[in-house]
């Protein structure tokens, strides 16, 4: 039995003339939290969207739990236990908070939706995350930026996924709510079987919660260290270096 | 509906009557063909001191809408109904219902299918659509003996004109002559119709006959015949229906040979008269079948149609006395 939950080799992705990913190789072990950092437009979200079955890579292999797979769709990836928080949140403005929270994994008592149960659980989950939403029946269109993000995060974090891909899950979260979500991720890690890839631009948070950090640059992974072996200064230096130099 | 609200005064030798209200159910309510019909029905009502009859039904020959309008009129307890029975099965029940409710019903302009009126209406006033189409074909057969003949129809399947083209086709079939007959769809939009006829003419320069069964297509056929000077080439006959200005111009200029006038004014005037007689005589005077006939307008008699505008042809609302003189053409 392998300890690698997800492994990718030589992933490449082009959008017309633009090459977003050249040759990405990375892996995340069972129960590990991997931090993925990089400049804006480095290709982090593109990589995540490949791993969750949304984009098809132009080259490269994806290996889930030791078996090579071709991800046909988001649904397919999900059936393999891979779940995602997208940077754009993937919320349906027209639906209520709790329907968004259970989107495509609705609780049903055939043929109807179990709205009552979903409502209750949605309220519980949001409370756990410290996010104050008076009424889970309102449309998400009316919520604040942070409230919206909380819903997207709750949707995945409370699924029973074995690999979680979190694309900037804390970008819009307040200090308190952000801390609570990090606690939640730590909880998941502690329970062992969930692997997480988390993208964040706040390196303090990255070092706080991640076991290992990868840097994506020029379409490749150029840096791979355990969190304990690096520091805020090193990461900042690494990323900001290019800009400080000519300045 | 309100028999108590009597008319202010009696008309002629007739007794004072309530202001009876009749309803006309039509299949193409906004079609210019029926503009004179509406004048006819209004004029008869004015003459008799009745309320202006209601003109309703469907705009695009949707039978269900006509049935709805008929039922609504029955609910409204109108005093008489005139229906264009464009479908032999659809109006049976509504007409019976009206008769049961004591509302006299006549049909006008269309009366079920050939040999089957389809309803128990008291009488029919008009000239069959199918028959008029047949006449269109027969007249063309006087000049055409062979070759390609095309007939244009704006909206195939529409019940105001489809029977005409069917009748026309039958006339050619019955003649046994070596003529290929093609029916071609134009468009509800007259301007698109013109382009379509134009295209057909370009593709078929050797046509020997060009017919049309609706007002728009008829005038457009004339314009196209003129544009490509088809009369001096192979086109032996061109004709169609109705008397809109551009068609009359075509006849006068010789690009069209004839157009058929179905005397729509009478189809409005007579039903009102008949329904009135039925009501005023307590049902003793039952409406009688009336064939309003066909009138071929040709180069010989187009003059007055062009120079005078009249209510009777629909070209104006003005009340006019159209003078005429000289002998009346006869056989």
């Amino acid at each position: 039995m392998t300890t690698t939950a997800l492994q990718v080799n030589g992933i490449a992705k082009r959008f017309g003339a633009l090459t977003a990913l050249r040759d990405v190789t990375l892996h995340v072990d069972k129960g590990e939290v991997l931090g993925l950092i990089g400049d804006n437009g480095a290709g982090k979200s593109t990589l995540i969207k490949i791993l969750c079955g949304y984009h098809r890579p132009d080259a490269g292999d994806i290996i889930v739990d030791g078996t090579p797979v071709v991800l046909r769709s988001v649904d397919h990836a999900r059936s393999l236990g891979i779940d995602t928080v997208y940077q754009d949140l993937a919320l349906i403005n027209e639906l209520s908070v709790y329907h968004n929270m259970f989107l495509n994994r609705e609780l049903i008592r055939w043929p109807l939706l179990s709205n009552r149960v979903m409502r209750r659980r949605a309220a519980e989950h949001l409370k756990d995350m410290g996010v104050n939403i008076p009424d889970v029946t309102v449309e998400v269109a009316k919520l604040s930026g942070g409230q919206r993000q909380a819903i997207a995060v709750a949707r995945s974090v409370y699924s029973d996924a074995r690999v979680l891909l979190l694309d900037e899950p804390l970008a819009a979260m307040g200090a308190k709510e952000g801390a609570l979500i990090l606690d939640l991720i730590r909880d998941l890690k502690r329970r062992g079987s969930v692997s997480v890839i988390i993208i964040a631009h706040n390196y303090a948070q990255v070092l706080d919660v991640c076991d290992r950090v990868n840097l994506l640059q020029h379409g490749r992974i150029t840096f791979d260290k355990r969190a304990t072996d690096t520091s805020l200064e090193e990461l900042t230096e690494l990323v900001v270096a290019e800009y400080r130099r000519p300045r | 509906s309100d028999d108590k609200a009597a008319a202010s005064g009696a008309i002629g030798n007739f007794p004072e009557t309530p202001k009876w209200k009749f309803t006309f159910v039509n299949h193409v309510t906004t079609n210019p063909f029926f503009t004179p019909t509406q004048y006819g029905m209004e004029d008869a009502a004015t003459l008799l001191g009745l309320e202006k009859p209601q003109w309703t039904g469907s705009q695009n020959s949707i039978v269900a809408e006509m049935v709805n309008a008929t039922n609504t009129a029955i609910s409204a307890k109108v005093d008489g109904l005139a229906i264009a029975v464009v479908d032999k099965d659809a109006f049976n029940a509504p007409v019976n219902q009206a008769l049961d409710a004591g509302i006299p019903v006549v049909s006008y302009n269309a009366d079920g299918a050939r040999g089957d009126p389809g309803t128990n209406r008291l009488a029919y006033i008009g000239q069959g659509l199918y028959e008029s189409g047949y006449a269109l074909g027969q007249r063309a057969l006087e000049t055409v003996t062979s070759g390609d003949v095309v007939a244009f129809i704006a909206t195939p399947g529409a019940l105001n004109i489809q029977p005409r083209i069917d009748g026309c086709q039958q006339a050619f079939k019955d003649s046994g002559k070596a003529i290929t007959f093609t029916s071609v769809a134009t468009n509800a939009d007259v301007t698109k119709g013109l382009s379509i006829i134009d295209a057909y003419a370009v593709g078929h320069p050797n046509l020997s006959g060009m017919l049309a069964v609706d007002a728009g297509s008829t005038s457009a056929a004339g314009q196209v015949a003129k544009k490509y000077n088809m009369r001096s080439k192979g086109l032996k006959v061109a004709g169609g229906f109705d008397l809109i200005p551009e068609t009359l111009t075509g006849i006068a200029e010789g690009s069209l040979d004839y157009t058929i006038d179905q005397q729509p004014y009478l189809q409005g005037f007579l039903p009102v008269l008949y329904l009135y007689f039925f009501k005023i005589s307590g049902g003793l005077m039952s409406p009688s079948e009336t064939n309003t006939g066909l009138l071929f307008v040709t180069k010989d008699n187009v003059g007055p149609y062009q120079t005078t505008k009249s209510r009777y042809e629909g070209s104006t609302t003005d009340k006019v006395l159209v003078p005429r003189s000289g002998p009346i053409a006869h056989g």
Binding site: L91 | Q54, Q59, N60
Partner: protein, 322 residues
């Protein structure tokens, strides 16, 4: 009582319902036959076909698509029934099922071209509109036929000829699909696919399946309406549905009822009320006795007035809650 009123006003359909009721009061005031049983039957029969087609249209609009061909499918279906019964001796009920299945198949084709070949549904269904119209005219020779003998009697009455038959069908269908749209996964995914196509796909929803399904539902409902109307008017007419007229009315009913053309939001019950409003206007002004030319002016102004009132009411409603 106040709570009940509140719960009512929270519903999106409340304002159109008030408009429909307002029209009833108005027409009853000007014509005392408006609310007679006979006339209510008239209104019911005029409401039903539009409402049923509007159900499908709502599903499609909500999922971000449109179907122009449904009206011509309505005209085609009763002919299919007629062919099956009179040419192939199929029993009436089976023929009915076959006709609906073929109607649904046309929806399937629409759906496949839209989702797999990525052609805009407006042009796809414009294409199938013409193609089916051609088939219809060729096979029917553009001429009406009588209802087949084996359809007469109980079947014809139940399917549409009975005074209340069509409205009962309409109410059942509206009730079912109202539940489908608001309380099932299918409905939720329909809204998602129309509201945020990218987001719905990211969430793993299979947009194609939802859309194809809704095209099929719409076409089948169109077929049903055609057969129902043929039974009611007792003739199989190639012009049932009037080409695009029925579709047009159904879209109007949907939009009046509160469905957005842009996708993502709509209500089936509202579309029913929209159809009712249209039928009331048409019937009421006819009852009063307006003639064709005038009635369009009146009808147009009445539509504008009703919809402005509708908008005003629903703004009042929204102001009262979050």
């Amino acid at each position: 009582m106040a709570r009940f009123a509140d719960a009512f006003l929270r519903r999106r359909e409340a304002s159109v319902l008030l408009v429909a009721l307002g029209l009833m009061v108005y027409f009853r005031a000007v014509s005392d036959v408006f609310l007679t049983k006979d006339n209510l039957i008239n209104i019911a029969q005029a409401t039903a076909p539009t409402a049923i087609v509007a159900v499908g249209i709502v599903l499609l609009l909500v999922s971000g698509e449109i179907d122009l061909s449904v009206g011509i499918v309505a005209a085609f279906a009763p002919f299919l029934l007629h062919f099956a019964i009179d040419f192939y001796n199929v029993p009436a009920l089976l023929a009915f099922v076959i006709a609906l299945a073929i109607a649904a198949f046309i929806g399937l084709i629409n759906g496949l071209i839209v989702t797999k070949l990525h052609v805009a549904s407006f042009v796809v269904t414009l294409g199938t509109f013409f193609a089916v119209q051609g088939l219809l005219l060729i096979t029917s020779h553009a001429y009406p036929v009588p209802i087949p003998e084996s359809m007469k009697g109980r079947f014809q009455t139940w399917i549409g000829a009975g005074p209340w038959a069509s409205i009962i069908w309409a109410l059942i269908i509206v009730a079912i699909f109202h539940v489908v749209l608001t309380r099932t996964r299918w409905g939720l995914h329909t809204i998602s696919v129309g509201g945020n196509p990218v987001g719905a796909t990211e969430a793993g929803i299979r947009a194609s399946r939802i859309k194809i399904g809704n095209f099929m539902i719409t076409s089948a409902l169109g077929g049903l309406v055609g057969i129902m109307e043929a039974a009611r008017i007792n003739t199989i007419d190639p012009n049932i549905g009037g080409g695009t007229t029925l579709t047009f009315y159904a879209i109007s009913a949907a939009v009046i009822g509160g469905t957005a053309l842009a996708g993502g939001s709509g209500t089936v019950a509202g579309a029913f009320l929209g159809a009712l409003v249209l039928a009331e206007l048409q019937n009421g002004f006819n009852l009063i006795g307006y003639s064709a030319n005038t009635i369009y002016l009146i009808l147009g102004l009445a539509i504008l007035a009703s919809m402005i009132a509708n908008q005003y009411l629903s703004r009042l409603r929204r102001a009262g809650r979050t």
